[in-house]
Subunit: 405 residues, 2 copies
């Protein structure tokens, strides 16, 4: 496997980009994807922001370093990665907060309809943010299994909220078809792109999507708890009303008036003062992904995950695949079901192979195409085969649950 892997790496058009990431010694990072690797340029950028922009520039940096423009600037760089026009994306707050804004905005645009439709087993925060509006009496949460979503789109549905790539299985929804189905039912659509952005091609404008949100700390390499992003289709900009009407979303924040007037376009999605440290780190990660380009990333992602499966076959490892076998039908990950997934994951981490576990029984491997190599994949499979063969995952230390799993 190793020779084959090395040959693939030598032929990989993205091989030079691995050097742009600070991969720790002795680690094979197949986290899938809870936190992208640190781009090497980020440390220097952060030192510059901290010592220079904050330390030396102080409040002057809102103008001189264009801190005030950061949310729109980073959003504009994310836009082409998700098939969106530049002025339709903004970087701000968290995915959860952005979900709240856009679910509420959609409900306001569909008076008389209260249902927000999603699927059971969607990423929890998506479901919880609907529940938050439900507790306010403003929404009604309806869940339908993914093969029944089209049937559940009736005249009560204001919004269809789906995660494009499922966080556990990696399964991809047909964005174009479901967006069309929702629109035919008179509903709007909000796509959560947390496991898509920077990993697989997305065509928000092309599919006629209404809204989207996504995460900055996964394939965009923005760092732990990085700011998220939000998309609003151009045609909705004028009508958009969201309830988190903080001062930075005001048309003239520094006029300090008592009454709220929304900023034009996606600027009205801003709420509080933008997190400059987090946005600066995110900008570095996004720039790197944008430089590589999403088509090349997606092609390598598919090659990596297919190679992982080839290696499993060659190593004689039989694990129950819960991701779609067709690489065009899944995100940049492979997930397997095993009753001892947690302990196996821990045993792999002890060997320096970092994948992740998702409760209760999912072992997830992600293939961040910007920095994962084919050799990483071959070596990870070798370790996985050894962990399963030796049964070393049975040690007590690997079964004790940490606070964060």
């Amino acid at each position: 496997m190793l020779a084959q892997a090395r040959a693939r790496d030598a032929a990989d058009p993205l091989r030079e980009y691995r050097a742009h990431f600070a991969l720790p010694e002795g680690v094979i990072y197949l986290d899938g994807n809870s936190l992208g690797v640190l781009p090497k340029a980020t440390a220097g950028r952060m030192a510059g922001v901290v010592r220079g922009e904050w330390g030396e520039g102080l409040i002057r940096s809102w103008n001189s370093a264009d801190w005030i423009g950061l949310p729109r600037r980073v959003g504009g760089r994310i836009a082409p990665l998700v098939g969106a026009a530049p002025d339709t994306v903004i970087a701000c707050d968290s995915t959860s907060i952005n979900l709240f804004k856009l679910i509420a905005a959609a409900l306001a645009m569909r008076p008389g309809r209260k249902v927000v439709l999603s699927e059971p087993g969607n990423f929890p925060t998506d479901l919880y943010m609907i529940a938050g509006l439900e507790a306010q009496g403003l929404a009604e949460r309806r869940l339908a299994p993914r093969d029944r979503i089209a049937d559940a789109l009736d005249g009560d549905v204001a919004l269809l909220l789906l995660t494009h790539v499922h966080y556990k299985t990696g399964e991809v929804f047909d964005m174009a078809a479901l967006t069309r189905a929702a629109h035919e039912a008179g509903a709007l659509v909000l796509w959560d792109l947390s496991h898509s952005a920077g990993a697989i091609p997305v065509e928000l404008d092309g599919c006629g999507a209404d809204f989207a949100v996504g995460c900055g700390y996964k394939y965009l390499n923005g760092g732990p708890g990085a700011p998220a992003f939000a998309y609003v289709a151009q045609r909705h900009h004028a009508a958009l009303e969201q309830p988190l009407t903080g001062w930075m979303g005001h048309a003239a924040p520094f006029a300090f008036s008592d009454d709220y007037q929304p900023a034009p376009g996606v600027g009205r999605l801003l709420c509080g003062t933008p997190p400059i440290l987090g946005l600066s780190a995110l900008e570095v990660g996004v720039d790197l992904v944008a430089e590589i380009g999403i088509e090349r990333l997606a092609a390598k992602s598919r090659a990596l995950s297919e190679f992982f499966r080839t290696c499993l076959d060659q190593a004689g490892v039989a694990l129950e695949l819960v991701s779609p076998p067709d690489p065009m039908q899944r995100g940049s990950q492979l997930s397997f079901r095993h009753p001892e997934a947690y302990a196996i994951c821990q045993a792999l981490i002890a060997r320096g192979v970092i994948g992740d576990f998702r409760d209760p029984d999912i072992l997830r491997f992600g293939f961040a195409p910007a920095y994962v190599s084919f050799e990483d994949v071959a070596e990870a499979v070798r370790h996985l085969a050894e962990v399963l063969e030796t049964g070393e995952w049975q040690r007590d230390e690997f079964r004790e649950r940490a606070a964060v799993t």
Copy 2:
């Protein structure tokens, strides 16, 4: 003035702390307070978080570096600065977002009442977040001038929302008296401590306050757009329901269940994934302020602002003071009204004296007691007197408004 200032500095018990801050060469920083100065320790901490915790530790740092505990840990350090029990404060999101959570929570605790009472001219985001809930049909915003607030507390008022130290004038509300008045009217109280925390003593528990929010980037020196904090009195923990029910506020976030169950205590105020870079920087700033202690900070703050007024007198500068003349009645700032406040502020900045302007005619000087010296004050007044005497503020370059004022 200078000799007097130097004598005061020599006798200042906090003089050693100035060396803990990275004050830029040639700058007198009397920003009042839009952004606290960089603590010297922050640069090292951020490099460690970026290169070590993120770069080397990757997802393992959620456990090994206790990223998951950061919001509660930083909140626990802020608590004594605002007179709160340790488990009643958490660091998260922005002040605006935290206002939304707690206004909504208060409304849910006072069914049948919809009015949120505040004052005109409160910091805009406080008023706008009420407006956001008003647009949702859940709140009714009522504004009463500060001398009429007690009269406006009728049986429709669910919540009194006030900013403890006014951002423009520095005037301080009597927290104990207004909290009592609100409670007598059956209302709850939410205090915005953005210009109080780290500058003047606050007794949230002692005053019987219900809720509070505050900013991390002013006197807590957390950096540009730092995470904010939120306080909930212990007696409300069990009943607290807020609508931004993200996965990190769940009792068991890593169980990934479809249904939301709030975490115990202030943990349920968390929403999305915590911003680790911002929280780490904030922790350094808070630790420094906590080490100095709020009583010593407040005493020096009063001495500095009184010395500023003495220097003005000695320099023969007559400016209209809009802050209360009694230092016990104001926050750590002095504000003056002048029709050319913007241009004067810009002329001072050109001389290295950074105060700030607040639309339309306020010139504001803040006295962050942890690092501002008496010599800073004397020198700032000398520059101010020269700017006014020479009329150099009349230059065109000082009248052109920047994006951020």
